[in-house]
């Protein structure tokens, strides 16, 4: 069979249309039954736990938890894909104007070093100087003569934004800092490299050496009492009034049962 | 060492043709060849003389090609090949561990049944062998290319297009190119494995003419399925059957008065 250019073009256009038809329903026609919770990978494991408990109490409501990142969660909220966005940092001013953030718990930000590092604590200023590149040797903070290798998170990470806000005071993280893409990767790297220093969720920092900050040892109790300075909120973000099913889930998370669950996982309750 | 005295051929010492050829160039002694467990050549004793054309005839599977490929160790390329016995070239065993196999193959050149031009220019095809042998001088290479092509009766056809791809030549020309390529190495022995099997009569005639001229300088071994070609283009003929050398002698004698009945049957076309 001979294919003239014109006919080939026609078939091509048809194929484009076909693909578009196949793709587009995915954009709009999602199932409306399950409550969709999308966002921060830091919050994801806790949200899954809460969803499991909630489903036991309310078997008629399905909760669908997805990761993707804090900002992705807010985008999903904006396009209507998600009922609840999760966010492991404070909302920006523009975001705060459009959405409502509900603090479900607080998480400490741990500054972590290698097990063999004799340093036990640093001040916030020292940490800032290390991450900005001003201090490059452990000697300068009273440690051994060893190069400091700061380990940061990727631009836009909730953990990074919280760290920038709480420690860096608008000073840029040095561009020479290593960048890892998850709490786990930071932990793995710091555990293997004697010169490394990193920051991560306190709730996930089991098995690694955490420094005291400004003389305060990080723990659930120092975070709760407000003594530990590096604390960030975990947020559920909603747009206007959520659907009743989503509201019931939020209520459950804020209830004493939900809060106890979060507390037992190393977070600090808010209610 | 006079290797000619140690020969013991099936039909007794054949009288070499021509003067000065009492010393055999190649002596095959009690040679047995295996592929895997199967013996494809059994107890071969054969002498090949300089300035003579030896034709090896016999039906398919008789071991002709295996013998030919053993003479410059091309069979070594096959993982399954094993042998016992000796093959002497000018008195030295070519299967000795000290043999430089590449040098051996330059002394004992092969033309295959199917043309095997390399995908390069005609000139480079012919200069390849000398270059491998270490010839770097451009003028010397030019000489070798020209003399090779002339000896193969190809020079007049290609002299103006030596830079063209050899693969564009006709089948007959390609086969003569392969012959020229071997001749450019100035070998001592020339092995031809059914060189005309795929060629038209005119190309075949040209190759046979080339062989007739070459015999004055080389020792030629020609494996052929074509008994008429053997009769036309050889001085001596050896007849192989099922891995055995049935008889060897002057071509005229083998064709007119074979010593073994099986030879006569084959030549007259009763089997094979």
């Amino acid at each position: 069979m001979d294919w003239s250019l014109k006919r080939l073009w026609l078939v091509f256009c048809l194929a484009v249309a076909l693909v578009l038809v196949m793709v587009c329903p995915g954009c709009k026609n999602r199932s409306r039954r399950a409550v969709s919770v999308v966002g921060s990978t830091s919050i994801q494991p806790f949200a899954e736990l809460l969803a499991g408990e909630f489903h036991k109490k309310a078997p008629d409501i399905e909760i669908d938890v997805q990761g993707g990142g804090s900002t992705a969660g807010i985008q999903a909220l904006a396009t209507g894909i998600a009922d609840i966005g999760t966010c492991s940092r404070s909302l920006s001013t523009e975001e705060a104007a459009l959405y409502k953030g509900i603090v479900i718990a607080r998480d400490g930000l741990a500054v972590v070093v290698h097990q063999s590092n004799p340093i036990n604590g640093l001040t916030r200023q020292q940490i800032q100087d290390i991450f900005s590149g001003k201090i490059t040797n452990w000697r300068d903070v009273g440690g051994p003569d060893m190069v400091v290798r700061p380990v940061s998170r990727e631009e836009g990470s909730g953990t990074r934004e919280a760290f920038t806000k709480l420690v860096m005071d608008n000073v840029l993280v040095a561009s020479s800092a290593l960048t890892q893409e998850s709490n786990g990767a930071v932990k793995e790297l710091v555990r293997g490299d004697p010169g490394a220093i990193g920051y991560m969720s306190l709730g996930l920092s089991g098995g690694i050496k955490c420094l005291s900050i400004d003389g305060v040892v990080p723990s659930a109790s120092t975070v709760a009492s407000g003594q530990y300075p590096l604390v960030r909120p975990f947020l559920f973000v909603v747009k206007g009034a959520p659907r009743p099913e989503a509201q019931r889930f939020i209520d459950f998370v804020l209830s004493s049962q939900g809060q106890r669950l979060l507390e037992s996982e190393g977070l600090v309750k808010v209610q | 060492m006079n290797v000619a005295t140690s020969q013991s051929e099936v039909t007794g010492p054949a009288t070499p043709v021509g003067s000065g050829s009492h010393q055999a160039k190649i002596v095959v002694e009690d040679f047995i060849a295996f592929f895997g467990a199967q013996a494809v050549l059994r107890n071969i004793h054969l002498s090949i003389y300089p300035r003579q054309r030896l034709a090896i005839i016999g039906p398919a599977g008789s071991g002709k090609t295996t013998l030919l490929r053993s003479l410059n160790r091309l069979n070594d390329l096959d993982d399954d090949f094993r042998h016992t016995g000796r093959i002497l070239l000018d008195g030295g065993d070519i299967y000795d561990s000290s043999t430089d196999v590449a040098a051996l193959r330059r002394r004992v050149g092969t033309v295959y049944a199917v043309p095997t031009p390399l995908p390069w220019a005609i000139y480079d095809n012919i200069a390849y062998g000398p270059r491998l042998a270490g010839v770097r001088d451009r003028r010397r290479l030019d000489e070798l290319v020209e003399s090779g092509l002339r000896s193969a009766f190809l020079w007049d056809e290609v002299k103006d297009r030596l830079g063209e791809a050899a693969t564009n030549l006709s089948g007959g020309q390609q086969q003569r190119l392969c012959l020229a390529r071997v001749l450019a190495l100035e070998p001592e022995v020339l092995l031809l494995d059914e060189p005309c099997s795929g060629l038209d009569p005119i190309s075949t005639a040209k190759i046979e003419d080339a062989l007739a001229e070459l015999k004055s300088r080389y020792c030629v071994v020609l494996v052929t399925n074509n008994t008429k070609q053997a009769a036309r283009a050889s001085d001596r003929t050896a007849f192989f059957l099922m891995g055995e050398l049935v008889e060897v002698g002057l071509t005229t004698q083998v064709f007119t008065n074979p010593a073994d009945g099986r030879t006569g049957d084959y030549i007259t076309g009763h089997f094979g």
Partner: protein, 286 residues
Amino acid sequence: MKREKIISVVLAMVAMSGIAGLALITAYIFKEGLPIIVRVGLKDFLLSGDWHPLEGKFGIFSWIVGSLAVTLGAMIIGGLLGLSCAVVLTQFCPRRLVVVLKPAIELLAGIPSVVYGFMGVMILVPWIRQHLGGPGLSVLAAAVVLGIMVLPTVTSISMDALRAVPRSYRDGSIALGATGWQTTHMVILKAAKSGIMASLILGMGRAIGETMAVIMVAGNTLDLPHGILDPVRTLTSNIALEMSYASGDHRKALFATGVVLFVIIMILNSIALAVSSKRARKAGVR
């Protein structure tokens, strides 16, 4: 006859929807990415190393360099290893061993990239840190991991190319007194050149496009690397690292990074194709 026509139309539709999908993806990437390139300016976007998306600074120079450095390293390691494997397996190896080794090498291609990355993090990175210095997470680590990842692609396609060389070339060369090695490098590698080039192109495509393993072992710093022991960020790892958190212009800048990646791959492929077809013509094959 009629059925024939229907089948042919249906098949054309299927093939075309594949192309259409590709066209739509390409169009979308360009639609999302181009405006920000225009706004920032092509020169600043490509040649500035200043990347602070939250402050509106979008310069991807360091990652173009990073991607090229890591890919080059991977091709040196993986290309050489893969080609050597292919040569040994096709020219110098007993058939019985090839039957075992070829599938084994091809199996390497089936291992998920995260596994390579994990091996890199657990074994290679600490080794580099202890024996060569630096943070371990480095251009070298990424190049080695990618080199191993492209090895099966290069080996397997090169092997097919080497095997496709007519046996007569080998026989002809050997009969002229060439050794096995001389035959291989003067005749067989030359004859298989375009196929080998294709294997390198595909390997390069895999290397430059690989993301997961690179993120795990490259260190992903914002700085331009100054040596092979320095950490590095590539175009793909930058997209993957920041995609999930990016919004607004930041997100568009990541699409623009994708556009650049797209163009780089197109350019590399065209160069490689042009080179291989030119060589093939010169050698007188087709």
